[in-house]
Structures are given as C-alpha cells and as structure tokens.
C-alpha cells in the first residue's frame, strides 16, 4: 500500500519494542462482540491507474459548466479563476497545515487570514470581519444566532428575497436555539416589506441584495427602521463580485454583513466547499462566531499575527461558546484572498462591470423571445424570467440541446406557485454565442 511506510519487518520490530506479540494485543480493549477478524465487505486496495479510471468514469457522466452555454446562479456562480490561485493553494505549506495553533510556525496562514479579514471588511464596508465560516447559508444562520445574543430577543424576520435554502438553513438552526422565525413569501421586489413586521421582540431582520431573484435594493431605510426598534439588520449577499459595483452593506447601515464568497477564487464544486464571509460592526466583535486573527508582536518586538479573542470559542467556552464551530474554510479563504489580491480594486470593478454588461446582453436577447417576460426590475448579473411553461421542463428540454438554462425557482421552493419562473445568470465567462444560442433554443422550446 503506497501510503503506508511501515514494512512487515518494521512492524515486528516495533511490536517487540512495545512488548507484545501481535497487533491484536493492542486492540484488547475492544469488546469481543465487536472484534472483526477479516476485512469489511468492500473491494481491496487499488493503484493510481485503477483509481483514476474509476474516477474519470464518474466525472465523465457530468456536464461541466465550461463545456457550453451555462446560465445557473442562485447562490453559486461560475467565474474564471486565475491559474495562479490553484497553484498557490496546492503548496504544501498551505494545503497540509493545520489550524494555526502554534503561531511561531504558522505565520503564513495567519498573515493570509489577517489580509483576508481586511479585504472582507473593505468589500462589505464593515468595521471587522472574521476568518471565514463554512459558507454563506451557515453564515446567515450564525448571524441570526449572534443577533439573538446581542439583543437578547428571540425573533428573526426574513424577507421574501432571501434565498429559500438560506431560509431553510436559518430556520433549522434557529428553531433548535429557540429563535422564532418569520419568513415572508417569496417576492421579487419587496425587501422593504420586512419593516412592517418589526416589533419589540425582533432580534434581527434578514434581507438579501442582490436577492434570490437578482433584484438590487438599497436597504438603508430598512436599517434605520430596524435600529430604531432595537433590532439588527443582517444583509445577505450570495454573489460577492457584486461588491465591486454596488453599494456595500456597510454604506447602507447593516449591522452584520454575510456573503457567500465562492465567486471569488473558488470553483462551483457541486455546492462545496465554499467560503462564508462574515463582517459586523466593531462593537459586536465579542459576540461574533468563528475564528479571528489579530496583530501582535513577538518576544523580539517583531510584528506577528495570532488567533485572538478565543474565549468566544468552543474549545475554551465549551457550552457557553458563541458557536460550536471548530473548522472553518481556511483554504477557500486563501483562494478568495489570492484572487482578490490579483484583481485588486481595479480588476474587481472591471469584473463586476463586465458581469453586469453580460447580464444586460442576456436580458436583451431573452426579452426578444416570444412569451418570455423579464421579472427583475434592476439586477447585477442575474435575473428572473417568466416562461409560458413549467420552467423545470424547459430546463430539461434545453439540457437535451446542450444548454444549461438556469435554475427553475421551483427547485428552490416547490410550494411558492412560481413554477414558471426561471433564474438566469451571466458572468464574464458567458460568451456572446452562448447567449444567442440560448435565445434561439428557448424560442423553439417555448413555442412547442
């Protein structure tokens, strides 16, 4: 077995040094009823050639986004990731190190985390950011729990523009933690509707911009209303590239900004691993979940970085921790940070503008398709359209023609009565020819 360095002779010698006869003597504490003499019923070991063959066979049965026209978004976006990113994250020192518990020999990871926190704070327009969470949806759920700790209130109100899977994730955790949730029915352009639901029990309101239908909203008034009532405003964003073009959550008065960071530096990966961005006002820092990296000095007075404010965390606080999180999304945060460094402000603004431009071109092409109606009034790189047929069926039909047309809203929420709604996204990777072909095939599909 190529990954196991011990030879049979080593094993004999080592058993001798321990003073036992066989390996079974080291498993004597296992109850006899659970001792298995042979191997479990699975195939034996395989060489690289066999493993590659099997894995390639499975991979081939999937239609990769890059193979042709592709318009899915709804919380995960296909962007170009520079080759440098993947090269650096595969360096041994980043890939095969642990959480930086020994800062003297983990300054590489720690400085990256400090830079990442600084980048995320700048992007979101917030005062502080943590060193990442699992993804946007779990980050949103953690934000609701944090609002409960800060306000000592027990109700969360969610707009009809929040991604339905985020709503489900929040509800799952909130109910366990005793937080009541009020989710508004899916609505294309009604983030403001949460204002009417704010009351004296409200810990937070959760809104999304651009929302799941792609609609961009200035949430300043919602922030004012929430804060006037002693509640926090949580602003969710699932497309981090939009920060390059649109008003940041901080500019609009958010108390907590949460985002899915996959768009920058990370591939689609069928939904994970992704990276959750989490930022807030400085006064709430001790109620934040997740790891934080801070600046300090070493014994010789040289600048260095350490994990800090750890007393919030489970390994010290145990049952009083702000969150049970242990592992975060370190390598994905590194990928995010490298890509962000390569883009810089110049590149990010250009990338964002390009995404918006491609989406406008897509809108114009689809608007011309008979029977198709554009639903989203103002958008970044994604919008909703209404079809004269069931959207899921249309998507299947188009897949048969090599076009991955987008995400039917019914896939996110089957009970919303929006079966004819399709979410479509365009990015810098979308070619003009993809758009033309999509419109052509869609015209045929809806006419049939």
């Amino acid at each position: 077995m190529r990954y196991l360095p011990l030879t049979p002779e080593d094993r004999v010698e080592m058993l001798g040094a321990i003073g036992v006869k066989s390996i079974d003597d080291l498993f004597i504490d296992v109850p006899a009823s659970a001792q298995r003499s042979g191997t479990v019923d699975l195939p034996p070991h395989a060489g690289e050639i066999e493993v590659e063959r099997e894995m390639a066979g499975l991979a081939r049965r999937n239609r990769a986004a890059g193979e042709g026209p592709f318009f899915c978004g709804a919380g995960a976006y296909r962007h170009h990731v520079p080759a440098t990113v993947d090269h650096i994250i595969q360096r041994s020192e980043f890939l095969t190190s642990y959480t930086p518990y020994q800062p003297e020999i983990a300054q590489g990871t720690l400085q990256v985390l400090f830079e990442f926190q600084s980048q995320v704070a700048a992007l979101t327009g917030m005062e502080v950011a943590n060193a990442s969470l699992y993804d946007g949806s779990t980050g949103a759920a953690e934000a609701v729990m944090m609002a409960q700790r800060v306000t000592r209130r027990n109700k969360a109100v969610m707009s009809g523009g929040v991604h339905p899977h985020y709503v489900e994730t929040i509800e799952t955790l909130a109910h366990a933690a005793g937080v009541m949730t009020q989710a508004m029915a899916p609505a294309i352009d009604a983030e403001d509707a949460v204002i009417a639901a704010i009351d004296a029990d409200t810990a937070c309101v959760v809104v999304q911009t651009p929302n799941v239908f792609g609609t961009v909203t200035d949430v300043t008034k919602i922030a004012e209303a929430a804060q006037a009532a002693g509640a926090l405003l949580i602003v969710v964003t699932t497309e981090a590239v939009s920060y390059g073009l649109l008003k940041s959550p901080g500019e609009m008065g958010a108390d907590i900004a949460v985002a899915e960071g996959q768009s920058i530096g990370n591939g689609l990966n069928f939904g994970g691993p992704y990276v959750g961005l989490f930022a807030c006002k400085e006064k709430f820092v001790r109620q934040m979940p997740g790891r934080l990296c801070g600046e300090t000095v070493d014994a010789d007075g040289r600048r260095g970085f350490v994990l800090t404010l750890s007393t919030r965390e489970q390994h010290i606080r145990r049952d009083k921790a702000t969150s049970n999180i242990c592992t975060n999304s370190g390598l994905c945060a590194l990928a995010f940070s490298i890509h962000m460094s390569l883009l810089g402000e110049t590149g990010l603004r250009q990338l964002a503008a390009l995404n918006h431009q491609k989406a406008l071109a897509l809108r114009d092409a689809l608007k011309a398709v008979p029977g198709v109606e554009i639903l989203t009034p103002r958008f970044f790189n994604e919008f909703a359209i209404k079809l004269p047929k069931d959207a899921a069926e249309v998507v299947e039909t188009l897949a048969g023609h090599g076009v991955i047309a987008g995400v039917p809203f019914s896939r996110l929420d089957a009970g919303a009565g929006l079966d004819d709604v399709l979410l479509v996204a365009a990015t810098e990777t979308t070619l003009d020819i993809d758009i033309t072909f999509f419109a052509k095939i869609l015209t045929k599909a809806v006419a049939q």
């Binding site: 001790r286 750890s310 007393t311 010290i316 606080r317 009083k320």
Partner: protein, 121 residues
C-alpha cells in the same frame, strides 16, 4: 473586607457594597484581557452571574456575593482590563451593589478565614 469561596470580595460602606475578585483569583486567571461589568439597575441575587472576566486562555463568570441592585459598574475596566491584575482588591473593582439583604455580608468569610480556605486548595 469579606470573601466568598468563589474568590469574590466585598467592602460595605453604608448600604452599598463594592465587589471585585481577589488577588488570588486574578493571579490564577493570568493576564485579564476583557471584563464585562453589569449596568446600573440590574438586580442580582446572591450567587447569580454578575460579570464576566476573560484572560487569554479562559472566560469566567463572576457571581454576585450579595443580593441587591447594581448602582454602578466599573466602566474603566472596559479600556483597561489590566487593572484587575494590577489592583485586584482596589481599583479593579467590578460593581457597586445597593444591598437588599445586609445580613448576607456577615455570613461571608473574613480575611483569616479566606486565607485558611486558600491553604486547603
């Protein structure tokens, strides 16, 4: 000055008790990095959580050694938590509590009893 087995101290002036943690506790905690003191108006019962004190390696609850209403928390500890290490039994006080049951104070340990208690730890 009176003491509890949880290493809080109390000094009474009139009907107001000043409360803090003992020098022994401060040393055991190590470098204090954060203190959350109660706001005026909070009503506490003896033994309830009054404040939180954090060192780099531990977060600990501070319990109210006496019952009453908080009249003042030591706001200075917010900016200078190190005072708890430097002056644990004076400037590093946590809160002033208006006593609702002064008899509770008499039941606490005096300095000799507390020292004797420490020697058993």
């Amino acid at each position: 000055m009176r003491f509890t087995k949880d290493h809080e101290w109390v000094i009474v002036q009139g009907d107001v008790a000043t409360v803090g943690i003992t020098a022994y506790a401060a040393e055991q905690l190590g470098d204090v990095v954060f203190v959350e003191t109660p706001e005026a108006g909070k009503v506490v019962k003896q033994g309830e959580q009054l404040a939180v004190v954090e060192s780099v390696k531990a977060a600990s609850d501070v319990y109210a050694p006496v019952s009453g209403e908080v009249v003042e928390g030591n706001a200075e500890l917010g900016d200078a938590p190190e005072t708890v290490n430097a002056l644990p039994e004076s400037g590093g006080w946590f809160a002033k509590i208006k006593l609702s049951n002064p008899a509770e104070v008499d039941a606490l340990m005096d300095r000799d009893a507390y020292e004797a208690f420490l020697s058993t730890l």
